[in-house]
Symmetry: C2
Subunit: 465 residues, 2 copies
């Protein structure tokens, strides 16, 4: 059944995916064009729209008291703005030649075609699930969606044991370790890497490792999971690695995600080496006139390395959505790329990074110096001044800033923004030493820790460090 018949002169925008990128695009387009000019149809296969997946660990931990707090905008709110939102409706095929998508009602199985004038693909990411025995056993949980979070909470409510194993030690892994600690569990983190937080260099990851052990978390690094072992009741009872078995009453998978691009691949749209859709600066799919893509299903340009990356993060998805919505709505906006900024925490430990790690710089052929400094979040004499470690990479010869990693306590994490802006502006570490940053004893030492690192890096680059 085609829905073309009822349309007049107005155009139809079809959005696939009802979370951050898709619904931001829809909302922004609606802001620019009213329903008389633009019909907007959005398909979402789940039950929810516009929610903060990044907030799930804090809901599980109890910091956020209820699921609905994570929902930025409900289906009803979208519909009230004349967006024809179809929940529990999965798009199963893109027909680019005829400008239409096929969608299936998840509950009834009924299928129909919907034509579009403009299409936004915002299908998000799917969790990586190694093909291991026991992966689907009761007691094993991912935390990608609100439904996942609810399932985990239901399990926790039913489980009498107190041992949790978190598989993976990236952002989701460390945040879920915190969540399970806060719920009173004994937590073991099983990590295939040499140190947790592979988005940091191993020397900085080592600081995270030590701090997590200080929080009472058992860290098992360099460990590949071989199976999830189940008991007689079929529930998970342990995580097995080559060397050991780690008893578990509940297992949380924090292994990461890959772009959800099966539809796009089947339709012949261009994908990058990380499996994400490739777009131009306006977030239009390369080679397409009227197809746009954003959020966790696309690759983005890393402005420091000049290469494409896949960075599933809500803040990017929201920006993509805004850009797409502006362009689809007849305005103009671009997404220039990222510098790779991320921040996280495990209890009171703050972890942040931007730009390139040592291995990234090596890989793209950049020669660099690195420095690492210890400083404090406030003037040393001020109460609660807490230590932080700042690592900085700068290109030899030019002195251009290449990356910053920070591990510390309260006040450490968001300092990465200083470096993120400096990276975006292409500043040298020498230029950074003169930055006029906010100073007062409760906020910073007289030399901000980032400037201490910049001074040392500038000295190293000059060869006088």
């Amino acid at each position: 059944m085609s829905m073309n018949g009822a349309r007049g002169a107005r155009e139809r925008l079809v959005v696939i995916g009802g979370d951050a990128a898709g619904m931001s695009a829809a909302s922004q387009a609606r802001r620019l064009k009213g329903p008389d000019e633009l019909e907007i149809v959005a398909f979402e296969r789940g039950h929810f729209t516009s929610y903060s997946a990044c907030g799930i660990p804090y809901w599980v931990s109890g910091d956020v008291p209820e699921r609905d707090r994570l929902i930025a905008r409900t289906p009803e709110e979208h519909r009230a703005r004349d967006i024809d939102l179809r929940l529990r409706t999965e798009v199963t095929e893109l027909d680019l030649d005829r400008g239409r998508v096929r969608a299936r009602d998840v509950d009834s199985g009924a299928e129909s075609w919907t034509s579009y004038d403009k299409l936004v693909i915002a299908t998000g990411a799917q969790p990586i699930r190694p093909d291991l025995p026991g992966m689907d056993a009761p007691g094993v949980h991912g935390v990608q969606t609100l439904d996942d979070g609810q399932a985990l909470l239901d399990t926790l409510a039913r489980t009498s044991g107190r041992r949790a194993v978190v598989v993976g030690a990236g952002y989701i892994g460390v945040e879920m370790a915190e969540a399970m600690i806060k719920r009173g569990y004994e937590v073991t983190v099983v990590n295939r890497g040499r140190e947790p937080m592979a988005t940091l260099d191993p020397d900085m990851g080592r600081l995270v490792h030590e701090a997590m052990e200080g929080l009472g978390i058992t860290m098992v690094n360099d460990a590949e999971v071989t199976a999830l072992l189940t008991g007689d009741d079929g529930r998970v009872r342990a995580v097995a690695t080559e060397d050991a078995e780690h008893p578990a009453d509940v297992v949380v998978l924090g292994i990461g995600v890959r772009p959800e691009t099966a539809l796009a691949r089947a339709a012949g749209l261009p994908l990058g080496e990380h499996g994400g859709l490739l777009t131009d600066r306006s977030m239009r799919v390369r080679g397409q006139e009227e197809v746009w893509a954003g959020g966790d299903c696309v690759e983005v340009l890393d402005l420091v390395s000049g290469q494409q990356r896949h960075i599933p993060l809500g803040t990017h998805a929201n920006k993509h959505g805004q850009v797409i919505g502006a362009n689809v709505g007849g305005g103009y906006a671009t997404f220039p790329g990222v510098v790779g900024t991320a921040v996280s925490k495990v209890c009171d430990l703050e972890i942040a990074r931007t730009g390139l790690r040592e291995k990234d710089a090596h890989r793209v052929g950049l020669r660099f110096e690195t420095v690492t400094v210890e400083s404090t979040s406030r003037a040393g004499y001020y109460p609660d001044a807490s230590p932080m470690t700042v690592k900085m990479l700068a290109e030899v010869r030019t002195g251009r800033l290449l990356g910053v990693q920070i591990v510390g306590r309260e006040g450490a994490g968001k300092r990465v923004d200083i470096a993120a802006v400096a990276l975006t502006a292409g500043m040298t570490v020498d230029q950074m030493t003169a930055l006029d940053l906010g100073y007062a004893p409760p906020f910073s030492p007289v030399w901000d820790p980032v400037l201490v690192a910049a001074r040392k890096a500038a000295g190293r680059i000059r060869g006088t460090g």
Copy 2:
């Protein structure tokens, strides 16, 4: 008596002023040149070196338990690094023609000349003291030096009353208001301006005003002090304005400072319209070959307005000292200027600004749009997400960022650094909307408050806001 006789081939550096700028210069020069190459003589008229005057309010409040915590480097530590430091020795004359300074032992009154090859003027600032009755009465205190701080603490220890009046509502005034609140005083702030914090636009100052009243501080704005009234015992008993008398057991003066440049003026060195020494980019005094100046006695270039300003701040003084020391020591460094960043707090209220206020922009002929947004320090659903107000100025046509002001609670103040770096880089507000800032629910909403302001400003500039 000349001290020239004993010198061989090595040069002599004379430093006037033993606080941040002077001793940073001395230390950095010493790092680059050993005592065989460079003799360093430093004159300081007080008892202390290298201390944090910015920390005095927190010492008075009790947050910092003792005076010596504010001293970054003691006289003994400087002397151990072969710096010939002469405390309680005031320089009374510069003889530029003959390359010498006359110094007087404050205690004995003895005077002598010391010749120099290179001279650093780091004489700091002097507090502004209106010529009013009662200004020198017991119970009236400034807080510029450690000696001032000690005198105030001595008064507080002896005083039975609990009413404090703070004169002035700039950084020192609001910080001292906090200090006196923390010591259990009833605090009245008497302020000549329309709102506190004249470094903000009045609409933002109004938020500070309201928050300070919420803290139990009595705010008296638009009030010129006419006299400090004394009792029969000669001690201060009230602060009089044209309209009222404000009873006071102790009065703290937070009126600000001006450059201490009497010596430089007498020697004919170039001063700017704010009374500060004028230097080139290397911090060398204009027109001089071997005379350098830094810290609170100089004017600096405001990179946003293109005009000279006087900004007495320890963080600038330290940078100046580093730059001077590098140049004097045979290296090379410059101080490009400032963007006017400052941050402060009153109890849990954080106040920050960078760049131009509305009136600054008017004065230098810039046309601009302003926007003000409300956001939160963390994701709205995360515990302790606190509200903050961000005001942003952007130039019409170009969209160039001109200034940012922030008033909020925990996590608000240091966000000004994002804008400080963007200002330094000459970014437009439209460029800022794409900044890749650290995002996670405990650290920021998915759109950082500074980006929310940038988006709104960019929309306003495009005329679609």
